[in-house]
Amino acid sequence: MYVMFVLIGFSLLVALIFLGVFIWAVRSGQYEDQYTPSVRALFDDEKRVHDTSDTSSKHDTQEHRSTD
């Protein structure tokens, strides 16, 4: 049954890593805003958002291939 202690050790290790990351997240202000991130995720910053409700959306895709 000694392996239980090893597994608990590993589980604690993982939990401690997560705890460290959690503390980092809170202290670095990751969770100061608990609303806008959910809205921000909805917006694509792509230069030309593909409108899928547009039936003629088979536009010229050449511009995407042009080099920058």
């Binding site: 392996v3 090893v6 939990a15 921000r40 694509d44 910053d45 039936t55 920058d68």
Partner: protein, 703 residues
């Protein structure tokens, strides 16, 4: 503020899209095939395609090939956009993709050839285990590098789910796969018996948690709001349930070992944490469903949302059922029956399958700058899939409960009502046939999905690169965030970062070796329990190769219904030389722990040649090749030496004597068979298998 221009890599997304769709069909076809093998044993067409070898192929194909590629598909599209940057390295993305596909192909070939460790969802042998660890770290480095160079300070909740997936699966895979190779494709787990079982189910449960749950929840938090075009119901809840989920999940593993020979306190730990898990699990389910508030009209028309709604509902059902099955009194009935199979298929077909198909239908048109080819066909896929799930799980729940009750039924006189195990199996045949119907419906839906996505791709034109622009992160933080310096330092130093990542992994691997030292100090407990003889070792390896553990347990629980049927209940000390443990998790056939000396050698010989000759109506596949094939004992010395290094006390230099001992024991069995009128030679595989079966559970029988 200066705006940076960059491009998103859609090509890696497309590669994983192809892989997901392709492997999905492969996994489903193998699933359907093994579903056919149960009611119709004739579908066990040859050595490579028997149930025992194909079941792990099916589970691995669905988990690691279908869901695995699906996770990466969803990850590579969403992470770039959420972090507002291209992937850290295109090269690492490609190594990740091709490495993963090579592993899958290697897995398929080796599993069919019988190379298996027998540990569930960790069946692959050691060279492939190493490849998995490397490719996994490649993904991790690529992901963490992408996070480091992000242009969006806040890491959206989906990213957190991806991070936890990477960290935990890496640790689980390494710890559970510690094994000592005997040959290129044969290794022995460093853990034995109870220890191996605890490690395996710590891994197995968390594979469900961190491979089939957390990454898919991450995908849910990106794609469900996207498809519904509204923000997630409660972002605060998503954060709380994420942290709660990952902190609790890791402790729940021992619920797979209730009433087994594992310590009670470990079982209690598993039960308690499993019950607590319902809170964070349902937090995720409710958050997903409530995101659709005010958007339910869209669910009526949008097939993507339909898939998501059923997926999230299935997640809710499976995560209610999980805690329930972890209660000992429920588990006493459900364990070893088809109930578990139904439970996991609610998760796999419903939660994983439908989440991924929703994502496929949402992504394909976007990658190809077009619309979905046919909404009608997508709806047809949805309904066939939904019906398929119902036709699968309802009969299989029924089968599980039926068999569980039959095993436990006593007559008024106090004897087992169904003493013949086979009777409880044959009762389930109609349910097994219905399951085939369910699987066929689900597969038909997937084939329609393949056609629909193919036509969508043909209708559009693939957009390999997408231009985007966003202000750099650094400008935002300059001077205002003192805690950020460490992050900024590493962000601009990819080489140092990779070195640090590898150091972290190396430390993890070093720690991984500690269990070995701890465990070796804890071997014998029952004096009469002796290591297996060389012939029994070979027989046990054949037992492992043929996947016998897929249908036969070696764990008699301390219930009167089990001790009446099988004999004395299992003791932890009986398994100390079992590298790996072979307790199994499903009884399609009876438990075999006390089968030793129960039947004559000739019975086993005839039974393996044709099971129906000894048990009329048996659905076990025949194994005629065991009778013809010559036992390959060339690697025996290497096996003995590998087993010694994991703690089996073979005397020094026994490698030299082992083959002679094997021959003596084999000749005795051959002579015994000859006395029963069966002519064979001592060097056939069947002889080794008989030796092993006749040894099972006999160490404490004499007492």
């Amino acid at each position: 503020m200066e705006v940076e221009k960059f491009r998103y890599d859609n090509q890696i997304v497309r590669l994983f899209l192809f892989a997901t769709i392709g492997w999905a069909l492969t996994g489903f076809i193998f699933g359907l095939w093994i579903a056919l093998q149960l009611p119709f044993p004739g579908f066990n067409i040859s050595e490579a395609f028997t149930f025992g070898r194909m079941r792990p192929l099916h589970t691995n194909a669905v988990i690691f090939a279908f869901v695995g590629n699906g996770i990466f598909l969803g990850y590579y599209y969403s992470a770039q956009r959420l972090l507002k940057t291209r992937n850290y390295s295109d090269l690492l993305s490609r190594i990740h993709f091709w490495g993963w596909q090579l592993i899958i192909v290697a897995a398929a070939i080796t599993l069919l050839m019988g190379y298996t460790t027998s540990k569930e969802y960790a069946e692959l042998e050691w060279p492939i285990d190493i490849a998995i660890a490397i490719v996994w770290v490649v993904w991790g480095v690529n992901m963490i590098g992408t996070i480091m160079k992000r242009r969006e300070k806040h890491m959206y909740v989906a990213i957190w789910f991806y991070i936890s997936t990477f960290i935990t699966v890496a640790v689980l895979h390494i710890v559970n796969s510690l094994e000592i190779p005997a040959t290129l494709f044969k290794s022995y787990s460093i853990y034995a018996g109870v220890q191996d079982a605890l490690v395996q189910w710590w891994y197995g449960h968390n594979a469900v948690a961190f491979f089939l749950t957390t990454p898919v929840l991450g995908l849910m938090y990106y794609y469900l709001p996207k498809a519904a075009e509204r923000p997630v119901y409660s972002y605060k809840l998503s954060i709380i349930h994420f942290w709660a989920l990952i902190f609790i999940y890791i402790w729940a593993g021992p619920h797979h070992l209730l009433y087994s020979s594992t310590p009670d306190w470990a079982q209690a730990l598993g039960t308690v944490f499993s019950i607590m898990l319902i809170a964070p699990s349902w937090g995720g389910m409710l958050n997903g469903l409530l995101t659709l508030r005010g958007a339910w009209d869209k669910v009526r028309t949008d097939p993507v949302l339909k898939f998501f709604v059923v997926a999230v509902t299935a997640y809710g059902m499976a995560t209610f059922e999980g805690p329930m099955l972890s209660i000992k009194s429920v588990n006493a009935l459900s364990h070893f029956t088809d109930w578990t199979i139904a439970h996991v298929h609610v998760g796999a077909l419903g939660w994983n399958g439908f989440m991924l198909y929703g994502i496929i239908y949402w992504l394909t048109p976007r990658l190809y700058g077009t619309q979905l080819f046919s909404r009608k066909l997508a709806n047809a896929h949805f309904w066939l899939g939904t019906l398929g799930i119902l036709f699968y799980v309802i009969p299989i729940y029924w089968a599980g409960i039926t068999q569980g009750l039959m095993w436990k039924q006593f007559t008024a006189d106090g004897v087992l009502q169904y003493p013949n195990f086979l009777e409880t199996v044959l009762q389930l045949i109609p349910m097994y046939v219905l399951r085939v119907v369910g699987g066929t419906l689900y597969l038909t839906g997937a084939i329609i999905g393949l056609y629909n996505t193919y036509r969508t791709m043909r209708a559009g034109r693939f957009i390999p690169e997408v231009e985007a622009e966003a202000p750099p992160l650094r400008a935002v933080h300059a001077g205002e965030d003192a805690t950020y310096w460490g992050h900024r330092w590493i962000e601009s130093r990819p080489v140092q970062f990779i070195i640090l990542a590898f150091v972290a992994i190396a430390i993890g691997s070093a720690i991984g070796n500690i269990p070995m030292f701890v465990i070796q100090s804890n071997i014998p407990t029952i004096a009469s329990v002796k290591p297996y003889t060389p012939l029994e070792v070979e027989g046990r390896d054949i037992y492992i190769r043929e996947g016998c553990v897929g249908c036969h347990s070696q764990m008699i629980r301390p219930f009167r219904s089990e001790t009446e049927r099988y004999g004395e209940y299992s003791k932890a000390g009986e398994y100390v030389y079992d590298h790996p443990f072979l307790w199994g998790s499903k009884r399609t056939g009876p438990d075999l722990l006390r089968v030793g000396r129960k039947y004559p050698d000739a019975w086993h010989f005839n039974h393996m040649y044709d099971p129906t000759s000894m048990s009329p109506g048996s659905i076990m596949p025949p194994y005629p090749w065991l009778i013809e094939d010559q036992l390959d004992y060339e690697s025996l010395p290497a096996k003995i030496s590998a087993l010694r290094s994991v703690g089996v006390p073979y005397p020094a230099g026994y490698e030299e004597k082992a083959i002679a001992d094997l021959k003596t024991q084999a000749e005795a069995i051959a002579a015994n068979l000859a006395a029963g009128g069966i002519t064979t030679t001592w060097d056939r595989e069947i002889i080794a298998l008989i030796a092993y079966l006749q040894r099972l559970g006999t160490d404490i029988k004499a007492e």
